[in-house]
Amino acid sequence: MKLDQDAKYQDSHEWARKEGDLIVVGISDHAQDSLSDIVYVELPVIDDEIDKGDVFGVVESVKAASDMYMPVSGEIVEVNDALEDTPEVVNSDPFGEGWFIKVKPTNLDAEWDNLMDVDAYVASIEG
């Protein structure tokens, strides 16, 4: 299982990583593996403001669809348009090319520390 040591995680398997002032969000290697071949990703519209814990998109395999939840509250400033034509990169590179959205956080100080670090996430999967 691949992991990103610098990212934070939440129970629903999204990861979040700081990139300058922005937060990049994707799903973990564990999540892509249990979904198997990803065939479609539905992403929000730029400028949407979405609260932590709310659904920002859907990731689909042939037989399953999973909602994706915001790890932090904020405004969507960028979405990974490449996923429209090549959703398979979420399978091959979940922490890199397979990112979903970039968020301008609005309540980061309160929310960031509530996310799990990599060790806690691994423990939560194995537990």
Binding site: K63, A64, A65
Partner: protein, 446 residues
């Protein structure tokens, strides 16, 4: 009569294997006081008696084989080539279930893929699903899809009053539990220009029908631009036969197209089963309700077909599905596909032309009558038109029945401003003789 092969010996052997004494033991979980109720049903009939009974019942009907039929209003008496029924009723098609196991359902799947393709050609739309129940449920689900496509933020469905009244009623039935409102049809005088002015940032779609309920072709050119500028979708309900002759909605910017496909190879059947045709532009395919068949390859690279994009559907998405529909009208869609393939490029135009010319002949003959009859329709129309009658339509229709004629639809029932107006439908099935007899009969009963 029953169709069970089990003999008493079989039953005994099976009970023994199961380890119970009698079949009744298998129903021990049914609360005792409700177990084995007496059913008060008529005595069972043999097949011979059954056919006699059905013959007696059907003899009470007047039907379009023995009567000249000028009734339309959403169900049409078009010709059904013999090849349609003969192929559609092959057991391998009609006794199969939904094609869940693609390797043993390639017949149904390929036929649906061909259906989707031919309907896409007819409507000039990108994507067509494997069918809905009928025209009414198609247009209702189209409006729902338009609301979903706007991510639930737009809640207003604008609908033309010239959309068939029953379709508008079904839309309202569908939306009664939601915060979607259906509006625009309160005033029968609201034409497309008036509806355009009602577009706003809350409008999910504008839904119209062309030819409309009164048979008239709607002036749809440039309408899509106005609808799209308001951020809404254009939903167009069509008569599929009209597209043999007239501009398909995909060419004037429709986002969702629906139609009643009954007359494409299917009998009148007293209102059902019919065929809901549902098409959309590619952009909205993930928001579409209903089943879709897609092309793919097998492990050896051979072409094959599967149900696809299933994550939209209830068995996966449950309460987040685009619709609850599962069983649709696959066999009727198959009939429509065979019909379109049998008619072909020339035939579909020919049916439309025959219907058009015969309807116009009938309209002009009635307009010449003068004794209280006149043609109300003053716009281009396809195969239906409205006439003003000198007395109530129900009275006229009763008199026509005595002359072996099923008259047209009484518009006064649903439109208070259209008392004594009859909606007349003419198809290729109506011979000149039938039309002349109809006109003569109208004259007599005035």
């Amino acid at each position: 009569m029953n169709y069970n092969p089990n003999t008493q010996a079989d039953r005994r052997a099976m009970l023994e294997t199961i380890g119970v004494q009698s079949v009744t033991e298998l129903f021990a979980d049914v609360p005792e006081k409700a177990r084995y109720p007496k059913l008060n049903l008529p005595r069972p009939l043999s097949e011979m008696e059954m056919m006699a009974e059905l013959t007696r019942m059907s003899d009470k009907n007047a039907d379009a084989h023995h009567y000249a039929c000028f009734m339309g209003a959403g169900a049409y008496n078009h010709f059904v080539p013999s090849v349609v029924g003969q192929m559609q009723m092959r057991e391998e098609f009609y006794t199969a279930y939904t094609p869940y196991q693609p390797e043993v359902s390639q017949g149904t799947l390929q036929a649906m893929f061909e259906y989707q393709t031919m309907m896409a050609e007819l409507t000039a739309m990108d994507v067509v699903n494997a069918s809905h129940y009928d025209g009414a449920t198609s247009i209702a689900e189209a409006a729902l899809m338009a609301c979903n496509a706007g991510r639930g933020r737009r809640k207003k469905v604008l609908v033309s009053p010239a959309v068939k009244p029953n379709y508008r009623a079904v839309m309202r039935t569908y939306f009664q539990g939601t915060d979607i409102t259906v509006t625009g049809d309160e005033d029968p005088a609201n034409d497309l220009e008036a509806l355009k002015k009602m577009l706003d940032k809350d409008t999910a779609c504008l839904a119209l029908q062309t030819p409309n309920f009164f048979g008239e072709l709607e002036p749809v050119q440039e309408l899509a631009d106005a609808v799209h500028a308001a951020g809404a979708l254009l939903v167009v309900h069509v008569d599929p036969h009209s597209l043999g002759l007239f501009t398909p909605p995909g060419e004037y910017g429709a986002d969702i197209v629906t139609a009643e496909g009954q007359a494409l190879g299917n009998a009148l059947n007293f209102g059902g089963p019919y065929l809901g045709i549902f098409a959309a532009s590619k952009k909205y395919v993930r928001k579409m309700p209903g089943r879709l068949v897609g092309q793919t390859v097998d492990t050896k690279g051979r072409r094959g077909f599967v149900l696809t994009l299933s994550t939209r559907e209830q068995h996966i998405r449950r309460e987040k599905a685009t619709s609850n529909i599962c069983t649709n009208t696959g066999l009727v869609a198959l009939g429509a596909a065979i019909y379109l393939a049998a008619m072909g490029k020339q035939g579909i135009r020919r049916v439309a032309e025959l219907s058009y010319h015969k309807a116009h002949y009938a309209a002009s003959q009635i307009d010449k009558l003068c004794n209280g009859y006149s043609l109300v329709t003053d716009k281009p129309f396809f195969k239906e038109f409205v006439i003003q009658c000198p007395k109530p339509v129900t009275e006229i229709n009763r008199a026509l029945l005595e002359r072996q004629i099923i008259g047209g639809y009484d518009l006064g029932q649903r439109y208070p401003n259209r008392q004594n107006q009859m909606l007349v439908a003419v198809t290729e099935m109506n011979t000149r003789q039938q039309i002349d007899d109809f006109v003569a009969a109208l004259k007599e009963v005035a």
